[in-house]
């Protein structure tokens, strides 16, 4: 326990999350993964946007940045590219990441910039009190989906993979040990890594949809997921309609900051002793 406590700003606790919220479990999993890897506190930077999930960095004893809604990955891109030696982690929610921040998400994945993104997916906008998100299952209720959500959801992990993320995994707050492992893998992967963490919001999602409290929601999460490895050998009827959990995609590729450093190495050599001064000639002719 003591090896993880040192990564918390203990004077900032208690946190603002509701009783039974899964975000503490996910944050705990991240810190446990960091502790296992013995990361230097001074070389980790955690960035978030807006929402319940985005309050997590405030409780963590690193350089932490709480930004605007959806923008965490864009701020993180600036930090990482400016200081590639830092371990940059983004903590985001399903609305923050896939709705307002969707464009930044797919482009960070496309660049394969070395950022670990942990998406706390509780299928709802919690902080604004229960509106439906792009991850609210069809037919479920939200305060803005009073007759049942007519929209479809993203498959966040497939979206990440298609956009170019080079490590993609899905865990849950029910499978806490597995979540630590997955985040640990993501943190050691050089490139854009995504861990979708299914988590429970008893206050809004559970209550509104009459699924129940935290325990029932954890049961619900357990029932709608199946381990990706097990799924490979299970009969199709046991897998149908369920979300796979575990490591879903791993495909190491050249990382963006490394590629940019190669450009620097190339042109700095070419312009040795360069002290600025812009080209004087080739301009567009019109």
């Amino acid at each position: 326990m003591s090896d993880i406590l040192k990564y918390f700003r203990q004077d900032r606790l208690p946190h603002i999350w509701c009783p039974g919220c899964g975000h503490g479990t996910v944050t705990g999993a991240l810190v446990r993964a960091i502790a296992r890897l013995k990361l230097d506190k001074n070389k980790v930077c955690v960035v978030s946007g807006i929402g319940c999930s985005s309050r997590a960095p405030g409780y963590l004893d690193f350089d932490t940045l709480h930004t605007a809604h959806g923008r965490a990955l864009a701020f993180a891109t600036g930090i990482k590219l400016a200081r590639p030696d830092l371990k940059v982690i983004v903590m985001t929610g399903d609305g923050d990441c896939t709705a307002i921040g969707g464009n930044h998400f797919i482009h960070a994945a496309r660049r394969n910039i070395d950022i670990t993104t942990i998406v706390m997916n509780n299928n709802i906008y919690g902080m604004t009190s229960g509106q439906y998100s792009p991850m609210t299952p069809k037919g479920f209720l939200g305060t803005t989906a009073p007759y049942g959500n007519p929209e479809r959801t993203f498959d966040l992990c497939k979206l990440a993979e298609a956009a170019g993320a080079t490590y993609v995994a899905r865990g849950t707050s029910f499978h806490a040990q597995m979540l630590i492992d997955l985040i640990e893998q993501a943190l050691t992967h050089r490139g854009f890594s995504v861990v979708e963490a299914l988590t429970q919001c008893p206050t809004y999602f559970g209550r509104k949809n009459k699924v129940g409290g935290a325990v029932e929601l954890l049961e619900w999460i357990k029932e709608r997921t199946v381990n990706a490895k097990a799924a490979a050998v299970l009969p199709p009827e046991k897998v149908a309609g369920k979300l796979l959990i575990g490591e879903l995609h791993k495909n190491p590729q050249p990382e963006f900051c490394d590629e940019y450093d190669k450009i620097i190495a190339q042109v700095q050599r070419k312009f040795e002793g360069f002290r600025g001064g812009v080209r004087g000639c080739e301009q567009n002719s019109d």
Binding site: D63, D85, Q268
Partner: protein, 377 residues
């Protein structure tokens, strides 16, 4: 020895930024600012700096704020539509006191407008574009040399006061080429943000409540501090307390109002005895100056005040210069934005004449000259 060169405004902005210590650029292509991005992409890696073309202007300003938090001087460049998209994080930079420079090469709006035509319609957006009261500084170069000078100054002011600084140029000045003699780089004054010396006891937002500027630690150096767009106390952590919010916002505002005299920058011509005062900025001021000089030759007591700092607006200077004016003329390529400030400042001392031009063309000097002669009657 530096020699005179034919140089473009956008090019001079880029060189100014590099001389001021630019290390990080993030941007999204938009006419008529794109040369700045192109030159930064070419020059920055040569000096070990970084360039990234983001997915949009929202991401661009976010990325430069992130980079600035690591201690690197950072900039983006854009035009009206992109500047609109940047307003969200412009407010973030104000609230969190992260120095950044934004060059806005203005074009005709609203909306897509006339992408290749000049305008000066972002005067008010530069001041009030983002929500809430917030400190900003906006500088307006009046020629190519000033694109260099004021970009350097934008970085210096951003670093000194920890505010976003906007350089408001326009399509004419951005694309215009003229003879420019740049100073020797070693002679250019460059300011760097004040940093704490050791992490122990660091309180990131501790500062004199009367417009003090807190010390800024770079990320990744052991300070482990928290930055949030929520109202926060001296520790940097969020606070919903009324007195904390009040204290912070008043301090942010005082950073600028208290230092207005230092931040102000303007040039005058023939104002000593002037009866017709022309107040202008940017490319409109070039036409205005030509008109003022012609009116003088014709015996009219015309004078000119050209603002190089638009925000904060130099109330005192204008009050002083308009004391004996029979009329104050404000030519600008919009329907009267700077004029609001001029009207407010001049009050009932003299009539303020708005001379707006919104057809995508620069003023011809005779258009302003006619108005001077009319006012002098």
């Amino acid at each position: 020895m530096p020699s005179a060169k034919l140089m473009q405004g956008n090019e001079a902005c880029t060189i100014g930024a590099l001389v001021a210590g630019l290390e990080f650029y993030a941007g999204y292509p938009i006419t008529p600012s794109t040369e700045i991005a192109e030159l930064c992409s070419e020059e920055l890696p040569k000096v070990g700096g970084k360039f990234v073309q983001m997915e949009d202007e929202i991401g661009s300003i976010a990325a430069i704020i992130g980079a600035s938090l690591t201690g690197k001087k950072s900039m983006t460049a854009t035009s009206g539509p992109g500047f609109s998209l940047m307003q969200e994080s412009l407010g973030y930079a104000s609230e969190t006191e992260v120095p950044v420079v934004i060059i806005n090469v203005q074009r005709m709006g609203p909306s897509t407008g006339m992408p290749t035509s000049p305008a000066q319609g972002d005067v008010m957006q530069a001041r009030w574009g983002t929500h809430g009261d917030h400190p900003v500084i906006a500088l307006a170069p009046g020629n190519v040399k000033e694109c260099f000078d004021l970009t350097v100054r934008a970085f210096n002011l951003a670093e000194e006061y920890r505010v976003p600084v906007i350089v408001l140029t326009d399509e004419v000045i951005g694309h215009m080429r003229e003879k420019v003699l740049l100073p020797d780089w070693e002679d250019v004054k460059v300011v760097d943000r004040a940093r704490p010396t050791a992490p122990g006891g660091y309180r990131p937002y501790e500062a004199d409540l009367d417009g003090g500027v807190p010390l800024m630690a770079p990320f990744g150096q052991g300070y482990r501090w928290h930055v949030t767009g929520l109202f926060h106390d001296e520790t940097g952590f969020p606070s919903g307390k009324a007195d904390v919010a009040d204290r912070l916002l008043r301090r942010l505002d005082r950073k600028i109002t208290k230092n207005e005299k230092v931040i102000r920058d303007y040039v005058t011509e023939s104002v000593e005895d002037c009866e017709i005062l022309v107040v202008s900025f940017g490319s409109s001021a070039m036409s205005a100056l030509s008109a003022v000089r012609r009116a003088r030759r014709e015996g009219v007591k015309a004078g000119m005040l050209r603002l190089k700092t638009i925000w904060p607006f130099p109330d005192e200077v204008l009050k002083d210069l308009s004391r004996n004016a029979k009329a104050v003329l404000v030519p600008e390529m919009n329907l009267g934005q700077l004029a609001y400030e001029v009207e407010r400042t001049v009050g009932c001392r003299a009539p303020v004449v708005r001379i707006g031009k919104v057809n995508g063309d620069l003023f011809r000097p005779d258009e302003i000259h006619d108005k001077i002669m009319e006012a002098a009657k």
